[in-house]
């Protein structure tokens, strides 16, 4: 598909930049140095997160692009989103889906840092054939140069995005009260951003929704959903407890949307920029909806194992850390037989 005009006018872009700044500041405000230390304490969980976020997701994105026969610009955008680190939204959804918030935060933290190295490598590895297609198109249109992935620009945009995160962390140290405000405001702004982008697109380019091929809808919705699915079963295969499966699943499917806006705006030019941006907007919109649905499902499905986990933790909190809760026979789900606390209390581990 072709864009006659720019999707976003310069003043929209400026506004978007401010909002990305606020969101990333809020993300930083929710992090502490301890969260980074915690990454080291959970090497296995973080490794699983790493594998599913930088191993599975880019492959899923690539696979969807090929299977759905995407335009090259859309394909690059989808792969770019597939390579993104996790965002703070995943922590909130994990909390409500009765998953391990601690693991979710660790994975977000680790992947944000890791993205600096991984994103350029992965993009280079997976986007080759699409780049060739674009270049061929450009040459046919009379351009001189080939299309290249602006690796340097991507890294500098990532670094730029991390600046407000660092500022947020400083804010948290200086004034926890303001940090809380920044955190809440960021969440609020994130909702506004998505609605604003969708809203303006709808008003200015109402026809866009109709022109967008169904494959793009399938891809943007599918990326998150397939990510949830693989994250869930991959961590199950590794032998993780349900509590952590839910965290890995959501962390895998939910990517840091605002970072993709920043990278696309700062690193890409037309003719691909508008298309890429449009795909990022669609992904950000659908991921909120599909995460909500998945969260409701996890919440219901995870109630029993979460209640048992919680009860075991509270027993150890109140009755001493050596207390062992002996649940009646036939009560524990098979997966919790060995450790009803799901890895939270050493004393609760059986034989």
């Amino acid at each position: 598909m072709e864009f006659d005009t720019q999707l976003l006018y310069p003043h929209d872009q400026a506004l978007l930049a401010v909002m990305i700044f606020v969101i990333m500041l809020g993300m930083g405000a929710s992090l502490t140095v301890n969260d980074f230390r915690a990454v080291a304490r959970r090497p296995r969980g973080v490794l699983v997160g790493f594998l599913s976020q930088f191993g599975l997701m880019p492959l899923i994105a690539l696979g969807l692009s090929v299977v759905l026969n995407f335009d090259p610009a859309f394909a690059i955008a989808l792969i770019l989103i597939g390579c993104l680190p996790g965002g703070t939204t995943s922590n909130m959804f994990t909390y409500f889906s009765r998953g391990s918030v601690a693991l979710s935060i660790s994975m977000t933290t680790a992947s944000t840092v890791m993205a600096l190295f991984m994103m350029p490598i992965l993009l280079k590895a997976y986007t080759g054939r699409f780049i060739a297609e674009i270049s061929a198109g450009m040459r046919a249109a009379g351009a001189e140069a080939d299309f290249v992935i602006p690796t340097g620009n991507i890294i500098s945009s990532l670094v730029l995005v991390l600046v407000p995160v660092a500022m947020g962390m400083v804010l948290r140290r200086k004034s926890p009260d303001w940090a809380k405000v920044a955190e809440d405001t960021a969440g609020f702004v994130a909702v506004i951003v998505i609605l604003y982008l969708i809203g303006t697109a709808f008003i200015r380019h109402g026809a866009l929704f109709g022109q967008t091929p169904w494959q793009v809808y399938a891809g943007t919705i599918g990326l998150g959903m397939v990510g949830f699915f693989f994250g869930y079963w991959f961590s199950r295969l590794i032998g993780m407890f349900p509590l952590f499966q839910r965290a890995v699943s959501l962390e895998t499917g939910i990517q840091n949307g605002p970072v993709s806006f920043a990278i696309i705006l700062l690193s890409f030019r037309e003719p691909v920029q508008s298309q890429m941006l449009w795909l990022a907007i669609l992904y950000s919109t659908f991921i909120v909806m599909s995460s909500s649905v998945i969260t409701l499902y996890f919440r219901k499905r995870g109630k029993l194992d979460y209640d048992i986990h919680k009860n075991s933790v509270i027993h150890n909190r109140l009755f001493g850390e050596n207390y062992v809760t002996e649940y009646p026979e036939g009560f524990l789900p098979r997966r919790l037989l060995k450790d009803p606390s799901q890895g939270s209390c050493p004393a609760q581990v059986r034989g």
Binding site: F96, D184, V191, D307, N311, F319, T325, E326, P328
Partner: protein
């Protein structure tokens, strides 16, 4: 999934719980904030058998009445186990029982063996002993109290029973087998809003039916906090219910409740309106003292939650329906609610997650669905909690019905009502004056819904009768129908709405009937009014006794050390007058004869045990008697008049 134990009587319930839940903690006692000691289902059952054998050896016979005077603690529950396992019934009352009540109850119930909780009760009972010829044995619960003058410690009796059981004594087992469902498990003397205490006879079958019929999905990973008085039937039914699915009951106290809620993170509990009011105050205080941006966020969140929830209630037919609603009217409003619901949903979703969840965590951790009983929940508190996502299940019942008659459940959450009757329970409304059947009555318009009447109840939870009061029993239970003395109506979603005590009804000299409770509840919504009682029987207009809120007057800048000082201030009097006028203004749905036209500010607050019942309900006849002169004064001079 139903994880509840179905047993024929409570002794079998205890036995089955020990078999099924074995080493799971059944009860936990607080030593410090993060140090609690658990007792398992097996332990309490075995201890209970030992103690029961000790009791049998001390001469407790099947179907005897054993006194049990004390408040919530593990030893209370152990004694209850022992009494039931020995085939007897207990007669429970709290620490605050008066000497006169002790004398009356021990004599009336024919108590020979009594448990007392502490030193104070022990001493008082010893000094009354000469007037209690029947009382043979006193057993002291508190391990730290020293038994004197022939009294025994709990441990002594348990040891006695244990050595007997080691020698093969199985009399307790024989007693358990001999229990029939119609045997009493408890004899509860109600503090009696009128006259002398009445002994309510509740049977094993009564309580077992409650365990079977209470709504809820719980299992052995649930935690309950116990803070309401255990000898009150409402707390007791919750503890019995908890045993039936293997949950753990944590004994808290009013002083440590806030901490304990955070540490224990109870999943449910028996609660009373007063607790919710306190929690409501605490939440609002926290919000007022938080960052201005966060205050704004909370207000947005609450606004969204209100709109979302109200529309959801409408769409799912859970709105309070006191009037018949024609189909076309519903159809007319439905699009509005559907649209509002859809528009608000994403915003509500976000604010619910980001703002309200934190408020809920601050209020009560894992608490999600909690039954409130023992008095009417003020509607604004009710709405507040249901809007912010803590489902308050208001229930209705009385000691005579063991106690639950009706309760809201998640499927039937109509705010402003006490839900539909629980299974196996029939309700009928009768005109208190004419005795005519109001509901269910096909002769009446709409089958008698939305019409006021006295609530009559029939069901497996209805008591056997009042002990040694056959006449009173036959006045209260007629043809199997228990007359509650409460006024109510049935809404159009078949829930019960309570409209006040028929006996509390004030008849003005003009002949108008006034229910004081809704007016009092309304007045108490004023921050300046802590408690109040509306009076006016046979007078030309209503009056009120008002206990002002010391805190609020201090906040407003009054230099008042005590409540007495407020009553002396003319400025305070003006404030209260304006508040009363504001609260009961015609626009708020009060008719002109329902306006409070005169009042007196009390010099002291109403106290539990004196003017208030243990569940903070006002004892009308006591207050009317005690403050007769003040009430006279309201109606005599110009003072306090408008």
């Amino acid at each position: 999934m139903n994880d509840r134990i179905q047993a024929e009587n409570l002794a079998l319930l205890y036995r089955e719980a020990a078999l099924r839940f074995g080493e799971m903690p059944a009860f936990a006692t607080r030593k410090s904030a993060l140090d609690w000691s658990p007792v398992s289902y097996r332990e309490i059952y075995e201890e209970g058998l030992n103690l029961a054998t000790g009791l049998i050896d001390l001469g407790v016979k099947a179907r005897d009445h054993v006194g049990l005077f004390g408040d919530n603690r593990y030893e209370w529950m152990l004694s209850d186990y022992a009494v039931l396992l020995s085939g007897a019934a207990d007669v429970p009352r709290g620490r605050d029982i008066t000497d006169n009540e002790l004398l009356y109850i021990i004599d009336h119930a024919g108590i020979e063996v009594a448990f007392v909780e502490n030193e104070d009760l022990h001493t008082r009972l010893l000094s009354l002993r000469s007037r209690l010829p029947l009382l043979r044995e006193i057993i002291v619960l508190d391990p730290e109290a020293i038994p004197r003058d022939g009294a025994r410690s709990l441990n002594e009796v348990t040891q006695l029973g244990m050595s007997l059981r080691q020698q093969g004594d199985r009399r307790a087992e024989e007693r358990i087998e001999a229990i029939v469902p119609d045997d009493l498990f408890t004899l509860i003397y109600t503090s009696g809003t009128t006259g002398k205490p009445k002994g309510v006879m509740l049977t094993h079958a009564n309580m077992i039916s409650q365990i079977r019929n209470l709504p809820g999905h719980h299992n052995c990973s649930d935690r309950a906090i116990s803070v309401l008085p255990i000898w009150h039937i409402f707390e007791r039914v919750i503890e019995m219910y908890t045993i039936s699915f293997g949950g753990c009951t944590y004994y808290s106290s009013v002083l440590t409740l806030g901490d304990d809620m955070r540490n224990v993170e109870p999943t449910f509990m028996a609660s009373a309106p007063r607790l919710w009011e306190k929690m409501h105050e605490r939440i609002l205080k926290n919000i007022r003292s938080s960052h201005p941006v966060r205050q704004i966020l909370f207000h947005i969140a609450y606004f969204l939650a209100r709109n979302y929830t109200v529309s959801r209630y409408f769409i799912t037919n859970k709105n309070l329906k006191l009037k018949p609603q024609p189909l076309w009217k519903r159809a007319l409003f439905m699009p509005f609610h559907l649209v509002r619901w859809v528009i608000v949903l994403p915003w509500y979703g976000f604010f619910n997650a980001a703002v309200l969840e934190r408020v809920r965590l601050g209020a009560g951790g894992a608490l999600r669905e909690t039954i409130s009983g023992g008095g009417a929940l003020p509607i604004h508190i009710d709405r507040f909690f249901n809007f912010i996502g803590i489902s308050v299940m208001e229930g209705y019942g009385m000691t005579e019905t063991s106690p639950v008659i009706s309760v809201r459940s998640n499927d039937n959450l109509v705010v402003g009502t006490v839900g539909p009757p629980i299974p196996e329970t029939e309700i009928r409304l009768t005109d208190p004056e004419t005795g005519e059947l109001v509901y269910p009555n096909s002769q009446k318009p709409r089958g008698g819904r939305a019409m006021r009447g006295e609530i009559w109840v029939k069901g497996p939870q209805v008591m056997k009768g009042y002990y040694r009061e056959p006449e009173l029993t036959s006045q209260t239970i007629v043809d199997g129908w228990l007359r509650t003395g409460d006024l109510g109506m049935i809404t159009f979603n078949d829930c019960v709405k309570i409209l006040g005590r028929s006996k509390a009804t004030i008849v003005l000299s003009s002949g108008e009937n006034v229910e004081p409770e809704p007016i009092e509840m309304r007045l108490q919504q004023s921050l300046f009014i802590e408690q109040c009682m509306v009076v006016g029987q046979d007078r030309r207009h209503l009056g009120a006794l008002v206990v002002p809120s010391l805190n609020e007057f201090r906040t407003a800048g009054f230099d008042v050390p005590t409540i007495g000082d407020i009553s002396a201030s003319p400025e305070a009097k003006r404030i209260i007058r304006d508040e009363i006028r504001r609260m009961t203004a015609g626009g708020n749905g009060f008719r002109s004869y329902e306006q409070v036209r005169a009042f007196r500010i009390m010099r002291d607050s109403f106290r539990v045990g004196e003017e208030l019942t243990n569940l903070f309900k006002i004892k009308r006849h006591i207050i009317a008697e005690k403050f007769e002169a003040v009430i006279e004064e309201i109606y005599s001079g110009e003072n306090g008049k408008k």
